[in-house]
Point group: C2
Chain length 360, copies 2
């Protein structure tokens, strides 16, 4: 098998040891003569898988006891609706910071359910920086403050956590969760689609402070009610069992790496190398304010965009896949989630340097 | 590998050739050096997987062109909310037939969103029959009529399709879809959780007549709006790509079996054999009206329930797994979806006969 270095923004690369284990035990899991996909979510065997995944995630993120962990369906986009339905009334003010495509989508959906106020908007910079917090117009009356700590498309990332007193912070952590330690106690709700740093698409992790449960408004679909999910251990109906199992293997793999402190060091080295390569050259550029650059998603452009297809072809021939930039940004994008080994980034940098020598 | 015969009600057995293929190509799909889990849902490669799955499902069920097929998340239970939110106003009457646990749950959720009227209720028989249609109190004013053609827990199945003129029929087909041909044109909406006859848990198939799109009420979460899903090819956000891919392989396997006419013949033989075995004995019994017995889920009890654990142990030793009945019914339940080979049913019957000889 010739594995490539896969820079996909999501669904994205999974750790090879995890994929190998999943493949090996696909049709005969734990010697039981059946796949983990073929057993009841209520069986003792699956309960153990589910429970261990939660325990390992709690260990990795040091999740305090007064937080519940939900394993649900629908992606972060479904959370765009679930958050206002669970945490606010239709009349209540809810605050949103807009720093890219995903934050804008979250706000647009929330505006259907509450008085969703834009308290910061990076439109002025073309969404290439994070507006300093002292420019935000937050309210202490808001039911919550929502932001997107890492914007997958723009490649911008918050260098700070907003300070808003008792207003719960709610974040879409899809593309940054588990990339480094996180002080969970600072947040009311942390939600993340699995398909970047957790596991296969089709699973969403929600970490919620327990005082925020039990406030879903009338008209909230039962499956979107956080309390229903918390009270049932995310088994109010059949959960995405296979994705949950793979996520559990990813959590074990992260622990085997030494936990998030070690993972963070690797991720920091990876992004420092790549940004240094870009900044050292007039041939490559990244538009993002250096203080707000993403660790996970690095968009970059060539001085001559006509060379984009040539670059992508050259990279593909070197075993580097899915580097094409998002259609709204153009150029290239290297997504370097936890499963991207440092050698993959080294290989990318080598290709970039060679390419510049020839075409620069 | 010693595969067992797995009678789980869901998540349930998948076809072994499908599991083998999934396992073989888990870390290196189509020689691309990555897993199908690791590629963008918007890539040409995944679009082909998604499109072929839909085409094959359309072939299998002969779905007319004026129906859309959605591949969504959340399970049938999420559809319990989505159906009234998409098809009715809060004031409008919606009709529900209650023939078991799932129909009751669907009605309970709909009553949160509309004037949900119970037009038939099998409570009188303890949910062991389907009330004859001439006893139903349906209304031509209802926005739709909902029923559950097969009740997984009770093991009852409709021997007829209700005739209600222009009122759209909406069915939760989770545990009967693809077990035999179905005249899709008789229905407004057919929805089904994947984890019985389609694929892994975490995928829900919705087949909807196109005139029923575009009527979602205010306050419907965008991801639950059928029109949004239809307009985006179920890719409004990241879909459960792995489950979709496995479902596609199951559809191909069903076609390779000869399609649903052939599958139906096998399923009929399987259930006829098992019910004959039960009915020929005073030791085993099934409580369901013979006219309304499920093809897929066969609950049965022993004359002496104290022998239940002995029976389950004996069956497990013979390689027959997950025969324990639902906690609300007791006894045993044999779920025999498409992936259960006829030899599995033969093996169960052999165990039952031997067990009766010893303990009867």
């Amino acid at each position: 098998m010739a594995r490539v270095f896969n820079f996909s923004a999501g669904p994205s690369a999974l750790p090879l040891p995890v994929l190998r284990q999943v493949g090996d035990e696909l049709a005969d899991w734990q010697g039981r003569g059946m796949s983990v996909m073929e057993i009841s979510h209520r069986s003792p065997e699956f309960s153990e898988v589910a429970g261990r995944a939660e325990t390992d995630l709690r260990d990795l993120l040091k999740i305090p006891d007064n937080y519940r962990v939900l394993f649900v369906q629908g992606g972060a986009t479904t959370q765009f609706s679930a958050v206002p339905m669970n945490l606010s009334t239709p009349e209540q003010r809810v605050d949103y910071a807009l720093t890219g495509s995903w934050g804008k989508k979250a706000h647009k959906e929330a505006a259907r359910f509450s008085d969703a106020v834009i308290v910061a908007d990076a439109a002025g910079s073309g969404y290439t920086d994070i507006p300093p917090f002292d420019s935000w117009t937050v309210s202490t009356e808001a039911a919550y403050l929502h932001y997107t700590p890492n914007e997958t498309i723009g490649g911008v990332e918050y260098p700070f956590i907003p300070e808003v007193g008792d207003v719960p912070l709610v974040i879409d952590a899809s593309s940054t969760i588990l990339s480094r330690p996180l002080d969970v106690s600072r947040f009311g709700v942390i939600y993340a689609g699995a398909q970047k740093n957790i596991g296969p698409a089709g699973l969403t992790v929600v970490i919620i402070r327990d005082d925020l449960l039990g406030h879903a408004r009338d008209g909230t679909p039962t499956m979107l009610d956080y309390k229903v999910q918390a009270d049932s251990g995310s088994m109010s109906n059949t959960p995405p069992t296979f994705a949950w199992y793979v996520a559990g293997l990813v959590f074990q793999w992260l622990k085997s790496q030494g936990g998030l402190e070690v993972v963070a060091k690797t991720n920091k080295r990876k992004k420092d190398k790549l940004y240094s390569c870009i900044d050292a050259s007039d041939f490559y550029s990244n538009p993002v304010d250096p203080a707000s650059r993403s660790w996970m998603n690095v968009p970059f452009t060539l001085a001559n965009p006509e060379l984009d297809p040539v670059f992508l072809k050259t990279a593909a021939e070197a075993g580097l896949s899915n580097l094409k930039g998002h259609r709204s940004v153009g150029g290239m994008r290297a997504s370097m989630y936890n499963a991207m080994p440092e050698e993959g980034v080294d290989a990318l940098i080598a290709v970039m340097r060679d390419f510049e020598k020839i075409h620069g």
